[in-house]
């Protein structure tokens, strides 16, 4: 099956799959739009979530925008993400991610694209510019910025030309100026630093409303230097058509809904206008950031503006990051580090899909747990504060299952280590929010920390204490015959052995099944020992 040609084809498929709500009532972008979408993350279960297409967006005065606003269409839920990948299951998503990272496909340069149906430069740009876009206010009452959220910044390494696509928040400071919410360890920072060395600004294009594959890669963390547009084509399973920008030397997807071209200054930086909500669930500090001066805006006729709900997890932002980071880390540990026992990686949305990482292992040797923990903690300076290794029978995505492993498969003094040198990014736990930004991000002298926990079994364990499968199956028949409520079995629902199950225990279990346990009591009576309380 061919991949989506553009966002509009994808929206039609979302709707066909009952994964889209069209909102035709007038909705105010300053106070109503984001809170309405927010409710699905604070009030619905994940399987009930959908994308929203707002067809009548107004400002406070009631003035209507022609532009429709699409929210939640990338990762409102795992089901939506799967559709964006052209997959049906989480396993298919993961297989495609691994395939794409290991086998990138080059994009195809074409001459013309719908992304440039309408072009604003010069006077028109000065007079209208970003005012044509009905940006929603994400956190009414607290947010002191207007933010672009599905904003895929495309830049090239000034030395190698390797393409980076990164999802960085853009804060709109003027109709022709955006400041870019850039973290220290992010790849765009390296491009900027190289451009600064060359004494020139960095050209960039910010694209909105692209096929999902591009957005999925944009959020991911692949190693520096990877051609990220080629990984996006890998996810799409085919080359994506790209066109040259009008005013900068950057190629963008030919069917983008909206392209904002410009140059990032390497001589000055500027504050965002205020505080803004972040993936941590807290408002972030007003900071100084690189300045993106807009040189040209192009868009499709009747373009659709796309946004992501971020901030307090779970949200669309924690879901889109979760699936990308899980696959990025899995590919790194399994293939780049070559640890064969790694089964899967889970980033918990409660941590913004950033801090709490669980690695599921089928260990071939005990050392694999620490190899995986040590590599994982080093993968990114910013990602992973609690990193936990578990066995293959633990569900790494279920916090109760992980807590069961922490409770009974590790000893803190033996199985935990703390390491330093991590960057705290927006994590507010390091220093008071009014401290210097550099100190908050990397508290002197050795930075923020991470804890690694090996919660795998260190030796053979006794069996899991549930009835054997055959008895649970028989009991389910009895349960249903009695007309008791419908069961949704939670794993594990039967007992299994974990390496240690002596013959003697099996013998006793069999006596017991025959109702003859007191016969064994005759034996234990003969084996008595002197009294002890040890």
């Amino acid at each position: 099956m061919a991949y989506y040609k553009d966002l509009r084809e994808y929206i039609a498929v979302l709707e066909k799959n009952d994964l889209l709500w069209r909102i035709k009532s007038p909705i105010k972008k300053e106070t109503e739009l984001s809170p309405m979408v927010r409710w699905q993350y604070r009030g619905l279960s994940e399987e009930d979530r959908r994308a929203f297409l707002f067809e009548n967006v107004t400002d406070l005065s009631g003035k209507k925008y022609d532009t429709h606003v699409l929210v939640g269409a990338l990762a409102g839920s795992e089901k939506i993400y799967a559709l964006g990948m052209g997959c049906r299951t989480r396993d298919e998503i993961d297989a495609k991610w691994t395939q794409a990272q290991r086998n990138p496909i080059e994009p195809r340069l074409v001459q013309k694209g719908s992304a440039q149906e309408v072009v604003y430069t010069g006077k028109q740009l000065k007079e209208l510019g970003l005012d044509i876009i009905p940006f929603p206010n994400d956190i009414p009452g607290f947010d002191g910025v207007i933010r672009t959220t599905t904003t895929n910044f495309i830049t090239k390494d000034p030395e190698t030309g390797a393409i980076n696509i990164g999802n960085y928040s853009g804060y709109v400071n003027a109709r022709d100026r955006i400041v870019i919410g850039l973290g220290t360890a992010q790849h765009l920072a390296t491009h900027l630093d190289k451009a600064r060395e060359q004494g020139r600004p960095l050209e960039a294009a910010l694209v909105v409303g692209v096929v999902p594959a591009v957005s999925f890669v944009s959020v991911g963390k692949v190693p520096y230097g990877s051609n990220e547009m080629a990984i996006a084509c890998g996810l799409a399973g085919e080359p994506i058509d790209v066109i040259k920008c009008k005013t900068v030397d950057i190629e963008v997807p030919a069917t983008s809904e909206l392209v904002i071209e410009g140059k990032i200054s390497t001589t000055e930086v500027e504050y965002a206008t205020g505080s803004f909500g972040e993936y941590t669930g807290y408002m972030a500090e007003k900071e100084i950031y690189p300045i993106f001066d807009v040189t040209c805006i192009t868009h499709r006729k009747n373009f659709i503006y796309q946004a992501i709900t971020s901030q307090m997890p779970p949200s669309e932002s924690s879901k889109i990051r979760q699936i990308a980071y899980e696959n990025n880390m899995y590919k790194f540990l399994r293939y780049d580090c070559g640890i064969p026992g790694v089964q899967s990686v889970a980033f918990h949305e409660s941590s913004g899909s950033w801090q709490y990482c669980v690695i599921q292992l089928k260990k071939r040797h005990h050392s694999e747990a620490w190899q995986a923990l040590n590599c994982a903690v080093g993968y990114s300076a910013g990602i992973g504060k609690l990193i936990i290794a578990v066995d293959e029978d633990i569900d790494p995505r279920d916090p109760d299952s992980v807590n069961w492993a922490l409770s009974f498969r590790m000893q803190p003094h033996r199985d935990t280590r703390i390491t330093m040198g991590k960057i705290a990014q927006l994590d507010p736990s390091t220093l008071h929010p009014a401290s210097e930004r550099a100190d908050r991000r990397y508290p002197p002298p050795t930075g923020a920390s991470a804890i690694m926990i090996d919660a795998t079994r260190k030796f053979d364990y006794p069996a899991v204490a549930l009835p054997k499968r055959e008895y649970m199956e028989r009991a389910r028949e009895l349960w249903e015959a009695e007309g008791l409520p419908k069961l949704k079995p939670k794993s594990p629902w039967f007992g299994y052995t974990l390496g240690y199950w002596p013959e003697e225990y099996q013998e006793a279990a069999e006596y017991n099944l025959r109702g003859e346990i007191t016969k064994l009591g005759e034996r234990t009576r003969k084996e008595r020992k002197p009294f002890t309380l040890d």
Copy 2:
């Protein structure tokens, strides 16, 4: 309202409240009974769980027992526990627990009780004894013991006479002999040690089928030396009638369904017949235990045998322990240690309500977090492997909420400490299961360990990144007007401040609400700084 006079009155109330299933079909005690009940813990949500009354229990050959078996009636769910306490809400349960621990009530000794309607001694005891009871096989296929589970052992301190009621598993080795699954740090062990010093056995009574208050206290961990029957009366809110046993100097509830009297040897110990499932979710080692020689059995006419589902959490055992331990620890920290900021304590069922403990604080001073953590880890040698302090806006019972706090309110190197000297009880993580029991319980030379984590805020934090309440409320109206699916709001569902919210941020938020953020962009343009990536 007067408390329940006996188990039968309580069963009637359970049924009236749609919290009981009567199973009239023949159910085999060896292979069917426990797996059937088990399904409600592996396949239903907690609010759908009920107690089971099996009215036609048979053995493998189909022989029917007169005795009915009651399971799940104490703590099949929090709702059932509440009913057993005569409460409607969790807050009422907690208030009653605190009241009872601080204001015990003496039981009332009466001359006669239904518990002694039928008496077995001498020849009858030898010939029938425990065979009259249809003990279920808890884990068919793995369990190599027959276990008593709601078994409240009542003993007296040989020196002070203080009454201990403890729920210890009894393993039936013969129709007149039970070995007692006793942990090193448990109170019965102290009684036994003192009896050994006096050169005599310890008298004991095992009571089954009592009013819930007695079972609730039996499971709890109150400090050594407390009169536990008086705490049970405190929970009941009135004196419970007790009668003297026939063959030992012990008083038991007058309306007990079943009383097993006997003496615990202080000269010999005996193995259990096999391995058995434990609260950890694993099979435990076959061990040597104290021997309880039965001297007399008494019961009500048509007595009901009561059992608890234990082993893999969540189960009835993890729920009954959870509520008791939470209240025991809360009372200790709040009143005995005098830490005013302690709001509540949560033991997670995923840890068997034993290892993973969260303390919710409204700190008056930062030191309270560590005072609470240090006291909590010392409270019991066996309880608490991961102990986490959180703030008052974190839900200590929701693992995602706790993981959110761990992700963004602590730094591992600064906010965690590991301590030693803990007893691992049945936690299999210390040493290989074939190692010496004493070494597994207390690995040489310094025992098992616990980790304490202060996940409270160390300074003022920025606001929580959700829209202010008024905007979420307005959006809910829009949501409902659109006919979107019914919302179940999850806390927090609106943003709130946490001490740090500068005037400047508030000003920007207000510009933003008016759609005028680019006016502030004029100001930020004038405040530019030289380029930096720090």
